[in-house]
Structure formats: C-alpha cells, structure tokens
Symmetry: C2
Subunit: 230 residues, 2 copies
C-alpha cells in the first residue's frame, strides 16, 4: 500500500516536473522568435503608412493580401505569446497529442527540441494516463466490493458499477466541461460539446481554444487543470 | 487465403468509402459558410476603402487590428476552401486524430456531423491501420522464413528482419517523406523532419501543411496518399 502510494507520487511528480521543464525550455527558445514576428507586422504597417500619399484600391488589396498571408501563415501573434502559462499549456496539449496549434515553435532549435521532448514525453504521458486509469479502476473495484458487502447480487453489482462510471464519465468529461466552457468562453452548447469532443479524441483542430475570450493567466491555469484531468 | 484477401478488400474499400462519404457531406455542409467568410473580409475592405478621405495612422491601426482578428480567429479563408480534395484531406487527417486545423467545420451542422463521424470513424481508422500493421507483420514473417530456408541461423534471422524493418521504417516514414516534402514545399530539412514527426505522432499543430506552397489538386492528392500510407 505504502509502496503503491510512493509509486503514484513519483509518477505524478515526474510527469509535472517534465512538463515544467519543457515549458521553461520552450519559453527560453521561442521568446526571441516572437519579437521577430512582431517586427514583421510592424514593418508591414510602417511601409503602408509611408505610402499613404500614393494610395489606390489596388494597393489596399495588396496590403490586405500581404497582411493576411503573414497572419494566416505563422503570425497569429497575439496567441503566440510564450509566457509560462502559455508554454505549459502548449507542452501539456502536445504530450497528449492534441496539438491545437494555436502556438507552435518557430525557431529551428525549438522544433528540434519539440521532437525529442515529445519522443520521451508522449510515452510518459501514456504512463501517467494509465496510472490515472488504474486509480479509477481501483475506485470501481472498491465500489463493487462495498455493494457486494451490502448484500447486492454479483450481476447487479457489475451492472451498477458500470452504469455509475458511464454516467459519471459522460457528466465529468463531456457535460460538465461543456457547461463550464460555455459560460467561460461564451460559446453555444453545441460549440462547447464540439470542443470537448475534439479535445478528448486528441484531434485538436485548434479552432476553439479555451482562455481566448478573456485572455488572462487565471483562465489559462484553470484550463490546464481541465486538460490534465482529462 | 482467399478469405483473408476478401477481408482485406472489405476493410480497405470500407475505409475509403467512409472517407469519401464524409468528404462529400462536409463539402455540402460547409460550402455556404465559406461564402459568408469571404463576405466578411469583403465588407472590411469596402468599409476601409470608403473611409479613405478621412484617414489617419490610428485608423490604419484599427483596420489592421480588425483584419488580423478576423483572419486569425476563423477566416484563414484561402485554406478554408471545401472542394473535394480539401474535404477528403480534412476527413483523413481527422480520423487519424492528427487534426491540423487548417480547415475545420464552421457551421453547427458540420460540427455535429464531425462528432458523430469521428465517433465511428476513429475506431474504423484503428481497424484499418491494424490491418496494415498485420500485413507488414506477415511480410516480416515471410522474410524470416525465406532467410531460415537459406540456411541462416534462427537468432541471426531475427536480428536481420528486425534491423531490416527498422531501417525501412525510418527510411520510408521519416527520411523519404522529409526529403520529398523538402523538395515540394521548399522547407529546410529540419522543418521537414519536424513536420513528419508532428504528423506521425498525431500531434498535428498545423503550422506546416503539405500542399500550401503550390496549392493545387495534384499536390493535395499526393499528400493524401502519403498520409494514408503513414
């Protein structure tokens, strides 16, 4: 029992230490890249403002084209802010193979580190999730034992525990988060369910991301917790 | 043997039929949404061109802000083109849980369909990949048998087949695609390896996407084939 608890602590602490370490490295590697991106947008704006005197619809067209290309390709620069909470969110969603893609490493060093970090991190994430799964299974066993001791038949016990975890699972992992995200992000219920499903299935398109509406640290850490619990 | 071949054909044909069906439905559902998005960008441009007479740096700032918000949030509209090849690419990368996110459903109907489509499609994709895995394993066994019949020792045979598939795997799934993508997309070798890894691990940030550089159908189908073989 004590051995089990120790193992549990080591796995959880190790996982989070790995996440924090990764977040710090990405932050260090990518901070300069962000400044460079902001510079590119600044330059586009400046060159546009200089050309104000000779200014035609065709030029506006070109300007819009350039800007959209820059923003669409790689410079979603507001979200590309590598502070610690963003960096941690990035690392966590990467190791779960969700990969929203709202931020991603732009430097060659960051990309190389990303490959090696995920190479060991994804198996570690699987071990971690496996551990959480085992803990839930143990809880399930205890519930079954408790019911059995109360005099419930074996077959009914099995059905009841299965039903309990099915309902709890759907509530905790689909309905409750959807309701929370709906409130926090101002999404419709359909959008919230869609987001929850796309995240849980590890597809992670990145079209809906938590913490975008009210972009602050508090929100971000809250979101991180949700994802880790998933 | 004939039974095996029949099963193989059914799985492969079923998988591709499911993909084509999904691609067609998404195309039908999302075509209108694309037109709406183009309208929004058109309106932003028009209102800007109307205000040309009273025009200040602060206004340009606001315009850039609005446009970037629109583009960054949901309107990466050039890529959001639901023709058949894009739709097929979207469906394939979703079922592999890669989820690049370069295109994603915007309508409520599309999002709802996405959830149900993936709910059955992801397991189907796993069955399909499992089948491909089994075929590779059978190939491996045949190679081992052939070597054994040639008089090679059992231990050496095992080592050789393992080495052969390791080297072939790294070549076929990492080095070769990286080289091809590098040539096709004009990426550095590091970027190409990064893309290959992010795709294979099903993270799929969507920061690098094949077929963006020379955006044509030929390229897209080629890319689809690469992904399916992965």
């Amino acid at each position: 029992m004590i051995n089990n608890r120790l193992q549990s602590c080591v796995i959880i602490a190790g996982y989070f230490a790995y996440l924090v370490l990764g977040a710090l490295v990405f932050q260090a590697l990518e901070k300069d890249a962000k400044a460079k991106q902001e510079n590119i947008i600044l330059r586009i704006k400046e060159s546009f403002l200089k050309n104000i005197t000779s200014f035609s619809p065709a030029k506006v067209e070109l300007f819009v084209e350039n800007l959209m290309d820059a923003v669409g390709k790689e410079l979603r620069y507001k979200q590309n802010n590598w502070d610690f909470s963003n960096s941690f969110f990035f690392v966590g969603s990467m190791l779960a193979t969700i990969g929203y893609g709202n931020i991603s490493p732009k430097t060659a060093g960051g990309q190389l580190f990303c490959v090696f970090f995920a190479l060991f991190g994804i198996p570690l994430n699987i071990v971690f999730l496996n551990h959480i799964g085992n803990m839930i299974a143990m809880l399930c066993e205890r519930l079954a034992k408790w019911l059995y001791e109360k005099g419930v038949q074996k077959k009914t016990t099995r059905c009841l525990t299965l039903l309990f975890f099915l309902v709890m699972g759907i509530l905790m992992f689909l309905c409750l988060p959807s309701a929370v995200f709906r409130e926090m992000e101002g999404w419709t219920y359909g959008e919230a369910i869609y987001f929850a499903f796309i995240t849980l299935s590890t597809i992670g398109f990145g079209d809906y991301i938590i913490g975008k509406a009210s972009y602050n640290h508090y929100n971000h850490f809250q979101s991180m917790l949700c994802i880790v619990f998933w």
